[in-house]
Amino acid sequence: MIRVQREDFDPGAEIAALMRGRNDIGGVTSFIGLVRDMAGGDKIQAMTLEHYPGMTEQQLAAIEAEAKKRWPLDAVLIVHRYGELKPGDRIVLVVTASSHRDAAFDACRFLIDWLKTKAPFWKMEETSTGPRWVEAKDSDDEAAARWRKE
């Protein structure tokens, strides 16, 4: 399941809703990404997340489908916010459930790694020296490359 929204989300409630009525799930891994108050030595006052409506959902759905193809997952949830955020605010939630904990961990990490290099979101930070667009990180490309299949 994927959701792209302006509103905040409650990780505990999201995880609980995903598990509701199911007693066959052995392990749930989740990742929450948050806005940090510092970046590159500068204080961050706010962050605006722009995205490409339509393509975002399509890419997230493709990433979810790929994860389900690769690992035996009982449930998947991706929630990603857009709009204006403050330091400490939640940006993204990825939840994977499986009876195999390795699968839950691997799939969760795969989802966040791929999402970071494929989902069309762009972060603009408001710093004390003005606004600036966040540059893509080589380390994110490398993290995503781990999951490439030949």
């Binding site: 722009e50 995205h51 339509g54 290099t117 494929k118």
Partner: protein
């Protein structure tokens, strides 16, 4: 079929720009009618750069220009079809 072999007429195309590409070009969305010789993404970008210094500024460093056609990532040699929705944007930074 070589990519110059059969230039086809591309009628009105929807162009979308995001993040600093949007800011540099000065619009988020436009409908354009490029000449019929424009068959690929690379040709479209070259043609856009003839439209003004704002396009040159946004599109010169193609290492920083990603392209999606109809919401799927494509490479610069991708062939365009009439009615395509073409989005140009910097490397993504979500998550």
């Amino acid at each position: 079929m070589g990519w110059g072999a059969s230039p086809h007429y591309i009628s009105l195309m929807k162009l979308l720009y995001f993040a600093w590409l949007r800011q540099k070009i000065g619009t988020a969305e436009e409908s354009l009618d490029p000449p019929g010789s424009i068959a690929t993404v690379a040709q479209l970008i070259d043609w856009l750069k003839t439209r003004g210094p704002n396009y040159v500024d946004a599109l010169t460093n193609t290492k920083l220009v990603r392209v999606a056609v109809n919401r799927e990532y494509v490479t610069y040699d991708h062939r365009l079809k009439p009615g395509d929705e073409i989005a140009l944007f910097p490397p993504v930074t979500g998550g």
